[in-house]
Symmetry: C2
């Protein structure tokens, strides 16, 4: 992985503070779910009953235990870092921990934090900030295999599916790495590039940097972004597709939306439309690109309709269709490895 | 045009300085060719025989004559702004002229220039700098008509064709505006957005801002960028295509390249491939998108092969094919207006 990607130092202390609603703690929960071995503990303010199921630690205890980073694992209720939050983060920085944030406000805007890092040599890491020095995409073929998540919309399970696929491949003894392209994914992976923040001229180049040359039998499992059929974000998806030069892709889908989330004027595309457009465009940098299946978030369907929906889609597409939470993603792994040259 | 686009103030003084090679004065020459009415004069250093064919002026004469901007119309030989250049630009800023640059170095990096503008209230304008506050593209239909240039590669005549089309439409009494998406185009148009410098999340939104709602019978003629089949720049082209929601497009082509310029690993696509992919992708925001013809830069073909090449391509595509310099672009204008609903 190159210097142009964000890199987090483990082990982590996950900062929860006074956030009590688990909906606002998805990032912290995701790190604990997918990377428990990197998490030393959590830091909650007195009286907060929300827990990620890991040991409670103060900043001082974390520093003594060799923790390298404090990660803001929650979204603050008012959207702002202030008061007690700042005191704790400054103390962590003073004790040499990197402070990692996915919030919109850049950590450098807090003079107390900057001063604390200057004394200790620790870093402020904003995972929303794009890397510098990225190249223009070349389209040159790289060694190793790549599996990309694509979607019919934003927020359809691309990150979850990629994490589940990488884990499943690793459990089968297949060499595989999850490659993160968004802020939560980067916090879970410990590295990555926030691809939608990259200047357009360099977006396919960023994707090339993210999945560099690798062993011939190694799979990069790449978190997707947006949708190639999205009126706002298709450029992100296309740059990621071209730079990833995927051998295989999975279409991720949410079946109950009539229109794209937050875009009432944009009709939701079908799985088949997304598949066809991905092949059309993906051929440019990998003529052998193939779809290995569909990952559906069926949670908004009535319970009794979920499995029938997957069966119907399997018949329509002649490809394995799963809900990674409901059914697991074994069928996709089998298809990936069975169709591998 | 919104505040999020770059805006230049006319009339202009074109700075040539000590640059004697016309190849490095293309920007200045382009402004004089396409916007002679905005150019008050040129500023050459003593002994320089290069001329744009407009009156010579000192900075003092320009200020007295009401000139509003000094535009760096040349690329400096060593790539740097220094010495006598800086003195002249500082003097212009001190006298209240905006200083306009398309060079990589930002004008704000020169303390003398900054100080001069602070006293006079003039502006430093870097046309490579992207606008702030751009929205995410919505895909919502806007009023007015749009004609987009697309290309089989970079540097195939998209800007020239757009300028020629806009001029030809205006001469016929059709309401038309050239919309610039690159630095030289912006200097010629006096406004625009350097689309490839925009963060990917906002690139289609930038294109929406660039060609806002307009009269029903008004044509925005939009300068294209890159190629939708380019391994490095396709994301730029797709964002521009989606945001422009063009009713019509022209494919621009250079017929002698086996591979894309500067990308020896990337086979040059055919005109037909570019046309088909543009229609496939463009349908998302304008289902009625149509190709109205092809604009070819035939200058690298042997003279006797140029017109036969255009004829052959016309037969193959069943669309008008022109070289705007060799044949003019009347056939494209006729086709555009004949197929207009």
């Amino acid at each position: 992985m190159s210097l142009t990607t964000i890199q987090l130092k483990a082990p982590y202390l996950i900062f929860i503070g006074d956030v009590e609603n688990p909906t606002f703690a998805k990032t912290g929960a995701g790190i604990v779910q997918w990377r428990p071995e990197l998490v030393a503990g959590q830091l909650r303010f007195a009286g907060n009953s929300l827990t990620l199921g890991v040991p409670d630690m103060t900043v001082q205890e974390a520093a003594k235990a060799g923790v390298k980073s404090i990660i803001i694992g929650v979204a603050p209720v008012g959207g702002k870092i202030e008061g007690e939050w700042l005191k704790v983060l400054e103390e962590a920085a003073r004790l040499g921990l990197d402070v990692v944030s996915g919030l919109h406000h850049r950590l450098e805007n807090f003079p107390g934090l900057v001063a604390a890092t200057e004394k200790s040599g620790s870093q402020l890491v904003n995972v929303r900030t794009p890397a510098q020095g990225l190249p223009v995409g070349s389209g040159k073929k790289r060694s190793g295999k790549r599996l990309l998540m694509v979607g019919t919309d934003c927020a359809v399970g691309k990150k979850y599916t990629a994490l589940a696929m990488a884990k499943s491949l690793q459990e089968k003894g297949v060499k595989a790495s999850f490659r993160a392209t968004g802020q939560t994914g980067i916090m879970i992976a410990g590295s990555g590039i926030p691809i939608d923040t990259v200047v357009t001229d360099f977006v396919s180049g960023a994707a090339e940097v993210l999945s560099p040359d690798n062993d011939k039998d190694h799979w990069d499992v790449i978190e997707g972004q947006g949708s190639i059929l999205h009126p706002g974000y298709a450029a992100v998806s296309l740059g990621l597709l071209h730079g990833s030069q995927p051998d295989a892709f999975i279409v991720c889908h949410e079946p109950t939306r009539p229109t794209m989330e937050g875009f009432p004027q944009a009709t939701m595309p079908t799985v088949q439309q997304c598949m066809e457009m991905t092949i059309q465009c993906g051929k440019l940098t990998n003529p052998a690109i193939r779809c290995i299946g569909i990952s559906v978030n069926t949670s908004r369907l009535p319970a009794e309709e979920r499995l029938p929906y997957l069966e119907k889609l399997t018949q329509e597409t002649q490809l394995p269709c799963v809900d990674p939470i409901l059914t697991g993603c074994e069928k996709l792994v089998t298809q990936l490895l069975a169709t591998n040259d």
